[in-house]
Symmetry: C2
Subunit: 215 residues, 2 copies
């Protein structure tokens, strides 16, 4: 399922992730990520994750505590979101949509997609809505919105429109796996969605908020 | 939360819904819809729905059977999806995106959004994925894809791209309630998203599948 043209957008692992001292630990996290992505938080048991990882459930509790704590540990994205944000922020203004689509959609072809899918499904189920909201507010909006805040005040809406289309692709291609959109090569998907993201980031915006208080 | 400019796109109720013979029944269904929309299928108890509706849980089981059967009954959309599909299909080719955005986003301002949100959240949790997939394949794809199948074979992908953006708006505005996109007036949201839908339906498509078998 991986495409070789993902090379140019590969994201380096966050330093310190997956310490070499504990293969078992990272195997458990990987099993958790896949299970949570496939079945959603509520439907996954620690026992099932333990079986997938080939360890005893007690060991999982020893390492991570509760199922909730294991979930939180497993959705720590294996990439640094700020690295993605930085690359998008630093791209030429007319190219931000293509850069963002290239980074995100290729990331979702890699095994790292499991963390995104698990997080998204969990957010839709209501488990981690605050976590997601905080992530958007703290990392994404704070970093990217000022870069696309034209007219003044439109930045947050622009970023959230982008987020809506990205979540929609995640839902259609990776959760529901609707046939046509699930089958399309990632490079074509990037070319198809990039203009949408670009328009949301820098195009005319009927929905731009009024600059004053009136309205 | 309703806008008055929704008048032009109001969808008639499916005939036979909410039989006048049973106010209790429809009150239970409404409570179920709201609860499932707010909390997701797994986190809702029949007891809580009964309390909201002011009835005994036993009555719910009498009317609807299991929680699962109640859920299925509650997500029967209070509008006829084929009516929406027909209006979009019959719109001028250059206007389909705006018609679709107007119909759907205004519908989501009405109390009927609860059924959509409940269905979507449930699909993301994995409860009703087949039901959703079948709905798209049977109703939406079957009716709309041939209308936008240019070049030949691209119809299903076009429709699924549209579905991705619609689901993304549902997720961002109505589930996560990200502040800027949740606050934007529906008319502006329609104007902002319509060009995206229109491009997916009739614009150039880098991701269009090859017309032959060679791929």
């Amino acid at each position: 399922m991986t495409d070789d043209d993902t090379n140019d957008v590969r994201i380096e692992r966050r330093p310190g992730r997956r310490p070499g001292t504990s293969d078992t630990r990272s195997r458990i996290l990987e099993s958790a990520r896949v299970r949570f992505a496939q079945n959603g938080y509520d439907k996954v048991s620690v026992r099932a994750i333990a079986a997938d990882a080939g360890v005893d459930a007690a060991l999982i509790h020893h390492y991570f505590g509760t199922k909730k704590q294991l979930f939180i540990a497993s959705i720590q994205l294996p990439v640094d979101p700020e690295e993605i944000v930085r690359r998008v922020r630093d791209a030429p203004a007319d190219d931000m949509g293509a850069v963002l689509a290239g980074l995100i959609f290729n990331l979702w072809e890699s095994p790292q997609r499991h963390a995104f899918i698990a997080l998204f499904r969990s957010a839709m189920a209501g488990d981690e809505i605050d976590l997601i909201r905080n992530f958007f507010l703290r990392v994404v909006l704070h970093e990217i919105a000022p870069r696309v805040d034209e007219p003044a005040g439109s930045g947050p809406l622009r970023v959230q429109l982008v987020v809506s289309q990205l979540m929609g692709v995640l839902a259609a291609r990776h959760v529901l796996e609707l046939d046509a959109i699930a089958r399309v090569p990632v490079a074509d998907l990037v070319d198809t969605i990039a203009p949408t993201l670009q328009r949301y980031l820098s195009g005319p915006l009927p929905a731009a908020p009024p600059t004053g208080d009136a309205g």
